[in-house]
């Protein structure tokens, strides 16, 4: 079977407390519902949830979403260490790809959806990012910034597509709900183009525009 692994990296630093974390925790069951009730999509994708603040925690190790009935909630607190997020992601990907291959699967390049509401509080995060993107299994990274996130930082994190919340139009919480919906559609549509035997071309489907967000051009940087 051809498997496409998705990693969701969510900022759960102190500034996410309240509506933002609530919005994400409310949308995760919707994402799970949409994918777990669609067997063709669930077969071909896997999902991992990483929450990061001062530390990064693998809240849900990579899993077939139709095999789980609950997931640890995001809980706000602490600083915003991008470096720990990227180091944890790299460690997960290396372990997960090996495990999937050991099960007899073939693995597409992983896809990471990264979401932050602020600026990184660790100075050395670019080093961790470099190790991630220079690794053998460098994921395609789609980055979303809400609240105080800076456009240039979000663009720096993304290597596939980047989005920044539109200031006055929507609240960060509303933007986060759109972020989760866009992620869900991305998983469903991408999986729909995957053949189990890898016999047809697969297209990663990521929307070019997401309601509540402005698309950040990666070409300019």
């Amino acid at each position: 079977m051809q498997i496409l692994p998705f990693y969701l990296l969510c900022d759960e630093s102190g500034s996410m407390a309240g509506d933002n974390v609530d919005a994400l925790n409310t949308t995760l069951p919707e994402l799970h519902h949409e994918i777990s009730t669609n067997p063709t999509v669930a077969d071909k994708t896997r999902f991992c949830l990483i929450g990061f603040s001062t530390e990064a925690n693998v809240l849900q190790p990579l899993v077939d979403l139709s095999d789980i009935e609950e997931v640890p909630a995001l809980a706000a607190g602490g600083l915003t260490s991008f470096g720990n997020a990227f180091r944890t992601l790299l460690r997960c990907i290396e372990t997960d790809v090996a495990a999937l291959k050991a099960e007899g699967h073939e693995v597409y390049r992983p896809v990471a959806f990264f979401m932050s509401d602020g600026i990184p509080t660790d100075d050395d995060w670019p080093q961790a990012y470099k190790e991630l993107t220079e690794s053998r299994f460098c994921p395609k990274i789609i980055a979303f910034g809400v609240g105080d996130a800076e456009e240039s930082t979000i663009a720096q994190v993304a290597n596939f597509r980047a989005f920044i919340q539109q200031d006055s139009n929507v609240s960060p919480a509303a933007a986060l709900r759109e972020f989760a919906s866009s992620l869900t559609r991305s998983i469903v549509r991408s999986a729909s183009s995957i053949a189990a035997d890898g016999g047809s071309d697969f297209t990663l489907s990521v929307e070019e525009t997401v309601p509540g967000f402005a698309t950040v051009s990666l070409d300019k940087l």
Binding site: P39, T40, A42, A196, S200
Partner: protein, 319 residues
């Protein structure tokens, strides 16, 4: 507006109640008014072959009443075209029977697609009924009967997949074909460029070719995958039907056809052969027919009684 007579309908006369789904080619809307009809509106109407769509509507109009009832029961057939300022923008169709939907834990409804027959049940879709072995067998027979009938009507189904067929067990095992605007009349162009589904491609068909034979390959996949509860089974591997679905004789006959379905393009078993195999009947090898005795020609009839010497002209190829 009844849509029953097949006449074109102006889009401006439709009341769209709500959008039910968006697919690769169009959106499906619920339409207000009698009949609980659905409107499939194409995303790119400029690419639609309006004559091909009209031919599908006309085909239904030309069927006997009992066949129309069957077509309406077992397929979401295009009832009539929908026009906007003279351009074909979509068509009206019937809604699938209520028994072919299930309610999720959150309360929304989903169609009972074939995909739920192709793998062991999961908690996330526990509300989807699970067929007993005899019901699974009956669903496969219903699929074979439906595709066989469509072929006898001179149609090529094209995109057979886990998403285009619905099923139910209530009141009895039944199937329902969706996306019927993807069906074409043999030898004629399709309404839109042919859609294909990953995992349901015929690896031996010439690229881009859709035919009765590629239908036969995909129907074989469908039969085998439902019998084996395996979404990715192909004739390259022996078929392993679920326990209790087929008796020994049927399993042997079906297994033989499954192997043949993996053969060269143009040689796949037809739906009639599957029907025979699933019925558990032996087949009798027929000997090559003997030439019929030639009729004795009463030459006097040609010559009106007058006697002439006529030779004969050989109609056989000279060796």
């Amino acid at each position: 507006m009844t849509a029953q007579d097949g006449a074109d309908v102006e889009q401006s006369l439709l009341t769209l109640v709500r959008k039910l789904a968006t697919g690769g080619q169009g959106e499906v809307h619920e339409v207000g008014g009698p009949g609980e009809l659905l409107f499939k509106r194409y995303l790119e109407p400029q690419k639609v072959d309006g004559a091909a769509l009209a031919a599908l509507v006309t085909l239904r109009q030309g069927l006997a009443p009992a066949e129309v009832r069957r077509l309406d029961r077992e397929t979401a057939w295009p009832l009539c075209r929908v026009l906007d300022g003279g351009r074909v923008v979509g068509f009206l169709m019937r809604r699938a029977p209520d028994a072919m939907s299930w309610r999720t834990g959150k309360g929304d409804t989903r169609l009972i697609e074939l995909s739920y027959l192709l793998r062991p049940p999961k908690a996330a879709w526990q509300a989807v009924p699970q067929p007993a072995p005899a019901e699974r067998y009956a669903l496969v027979v219903a699929l074979v009967e439906l595709f066989g009938w469509l072929h006898t009507l001179g149609l090529v189904v094209g995109d057979l997949s886990q998403a285009n067929v619905l099923w139910s067990l209530d009141p009895g095992p039944a199937v329902h074909l969706l996306d019927c605007d993807g069906v074409r009349i043999t030898g004629r162009p399709p309404v839109l460029a042919q859609a294909d589904t990953p995992d349901w491609l015929d690896p031996k068909a010439p690229p881009g070719v859709v035919s009765i034979d590629s239908d036969r390959y995909k129907a074989a996949l469908m039969i085998g995958r439902v019998l084996a509860q395996d979404a990715y089974a192909t004739p390259e591997q022996p078929l392993k039907p679920l326990a209790g679905v087929l008796d020994e004789r049927r399993a042997a006959a079906v297994g033989r056809l499954w192997g043949l379905a993996g053969g060269a393009y143009g040689t796949r078993p037809d739906l009639g052969q599957w029907r025979t195999a699933l019925a558990g009947r032996d087949t009798i090898k027929l000997l090559a027919a003997q030439p019929a005795p030639r009729p004795v020609v009463d030459r006097s009839r040609f010559d009106g009684g007058s006697r002439r010497e006529r030779g004969t002209i050989s109609l056989r190829d000279t060796p």
